[in-house]
Amino acid sequence: MIWLNVIVSGVLLGGFYALFACGLSLMFGVMKIINLAHGDMAVVAGYTAVFLVPKFHLPEVWSFIVVVPLFALLGYVVQRTLFQKSIDRDPFTTLLVTFGLSVVIENLLLEIYTANAQSINIGSLIAKSWQVNNTIYVSYLSLTVLIVSVVVLAALQLFLSKTSTGRQIRAVSDDREAAQLCGTNYRHIFGIASSLAFATVALAGIAFGMYTSLDPTSGGVNLLYAFETVVIGGIGSLWGTLVGGILLGIAQQFGAHFNEQYTVLAGNILFLIVLAIRPQGLFGKKVVMS
């Protein structure tokens, strides 16, 4: 029964990690860049929900209505300016630039909003849960986040496979040059992919702010989880991302079962094992590693 509890809470956590990771996966798949500021973007989204949204007299639960479109726009702009400029140089530059951005964001938040933790107020919803039996509780919030992440992943999958923009995104990620020869403005497509990635990371940031609390340095650890999720699941596979998130969640809960200190370490160890045995991830193709 204890193990069932570990698995249930692992799966719930996994949904959240998948939501966090799908933007990272998308940006790597299409632009071949690893956005080291990914976690910090989520924190900024959470802070926006805490500090900006109340100005619109909107309950914080509904903050995503404002924050997600805002971030979609931000994603497009950042991609067309800063990220595109670094891509035009080389992959090395994208790493340095996104890392620099991450440190700058973290410290800006620290300067403006202090090191105090912030959380998104969702009223009584936070305490509500569904009791499966006398040891297993599933909180409404965790379940909602899991459902949201499955819906988001399914919607992304559908968008990529059924729409003409989605087709162009896949074409650009296959062969950027050939896509240009088909009349595709790859910079614009990059912008759209980035916009989607930022929208999902905004959702993840808000979910995170509802779950626990955010502080300026939360971004780093979240990037770590998102990255582990992507690598475990395999690059370029959205459903792999979901499985990766769930496996990471279970591993962490498994570690936590022995000692709270081992939570993150157990996830890291799973990540390193996957890396050693199957570096392309469980559902990934072998070619994308270089």
Partner: protein, 368 residues
């Protein structure tokens, strides 16, 4: 292919190593060395502390530059080795050793740990490598943190220093930082002028070609990674003595990675002088903005981003390429019309072969 076949027939191409007479460079270095060794006796204690922190950052930045600037490995997990170096020092000190004597041992510990780690990390490239180094650093921190012997999350006081007065401790720690920095910079310089430096520059020009021509690319990378780990371990050991309360979050702080990265980036990757210049800029910024919280780091980071995009050779690289001026040249400079990267790399190889084969042709080490 004989060596002679590759010598430049075009007279517009010249091959030279040094623009400044070696004697001047050497003289300058000796004068600086004397000054920095004397510094604790002539400067106030607060300045000595700043200089000490400066040298610790010089060690880190030089090591990061060796990793990323010369070997193309972007690591954001070097703080792992800084932490391991600090905790190794703590371990030996608890066991009764003088912390200063523990520094070389901490270096060895980090090198030994780095070796197996490379087999895991070298399966990845680029961004994946970068984040994986961070995962490794994070894991090292969590493992150390779970060991009660080291005080867990609360930290541990570094024993063996209590019989020293503050002034003496400050002097000794400063001297340790300065000497380690000197050793690290000189060792990096020698390393890059050796065969290893040659392999690195050939990989930089064309990895596939240098692999196929028999260069041991992976083992060279491994050596560089281990050296960088050892160097960061030394920095961590000195850092531990300078604090001297050892705390998990301090030693394994991601901020170390940020500072070393920004300093080398701004100063100029791929030069010996650049990262040192970057550290100078960092400390000038930090000191002049010390009343404004984290703004120094925000400005430093933004500056690094700007440099990465608009001036990727960094400030020193810009100076070098604009004025054709180098203090510590590690490669040969081939100049003239119609010289391709391939030709440059080929000529470097030729020169190196000549040097090692000790042919009577050897003249290029003298300045024109």
């Amino acid at each position: 292919m004989s060596v002679e076949d590759l010598t430049p027939v075009d007279q517009s191409i010249t091959v030279k190593r040094n623009q400044i007479p070696v004697a001047y460079t050497l003289g300058g270095v000796v004068a600086l060395a004397v000054f920095f060794t004397w510094a604790p006796w002539i400067l106030p204690a607060s300045d000595v502390t700043i200089l000490m922190n400066f040298f610790i950052l010089v060690i880190m930045a030089t090591m990061w530059n060796l990793l990323a600037g010369y070997a193309g490995m972007v690591s954001i997990g070097q703080q792992g080795f800084i932490g391991l170096g600090a905790y190794a020092t703590l371990y030996f000190a608890i066991k009764g050793m003088d912390p200063f004597f523990a520094i070389p041992l901490a270096v060895i510990v980090c090198a030994v740990i780095a070796f197996p780690v490379t087999f895991l990390l070298f399966r990845l490239r680029g961004g994946y490598f970068a984040v994986a180094t961070w995962v490794v650093a994070n894991s090292a921190m969590l493992i150390i943190g779970s060991i009660a012997f080291f005080g867990g999350g609360t930290g541990h006081y570094l024993p063996g220093l209590t019989n020293l007065s503050f002034k003496v401790l400050n002097h000794d720690t400063y001297l340790a930082a300065w000497f380690v920095a000197l050793v690290v910079v000189v060792a990096t310089y020698i390393l890059l002028r050796s065969r290893l430096g040659l392999v690195l520059s050939s990989v930089r020009d064309n990895e596939v070609a240098s692999r196929s021509s028999g260069a041991k690319v992976t083992s060279t990378r491994r050596t560089v990674f281990i050296v960088a780990a050892a160097g960061c371990g030394a920095a961590g050991a000195v850092l531990a003595i300078s604090q001297p309360f050892i705390q998990l979050g301090n030693e394994f702080n991601l901020q170390w990675a940020a500072e070393m990265l920004f300093a080398s980036m701004i100063g100029g990757l791929g030069t010996i002088e650049g990262p040192i210049l970057g550290c100078v800029i960092f400390f000038v910024l930090q000191q002049s903005l010390q009343n404004y919280g984290a703004w120094y780091l925000i400005i430093f980071g933004a500056l690094a981003v700007g440099v990465a995009i608009w001036q990727p050779r960094g400030i020193w690289g810009f100076v070098r390429d604009t004025f054709h001026f180098e203090l510590l040249p590690v490669g040969y400079r081939v100049s003239g019309a119609g010289v391709t990267n391939e030709a440059r790399s080929a000529m470097r190889t030729v020169r190196w072969l000549r040097r090692t084969q000790k042919t009577p042709l050897e003249q290029d080490d003298k300045s024109p």
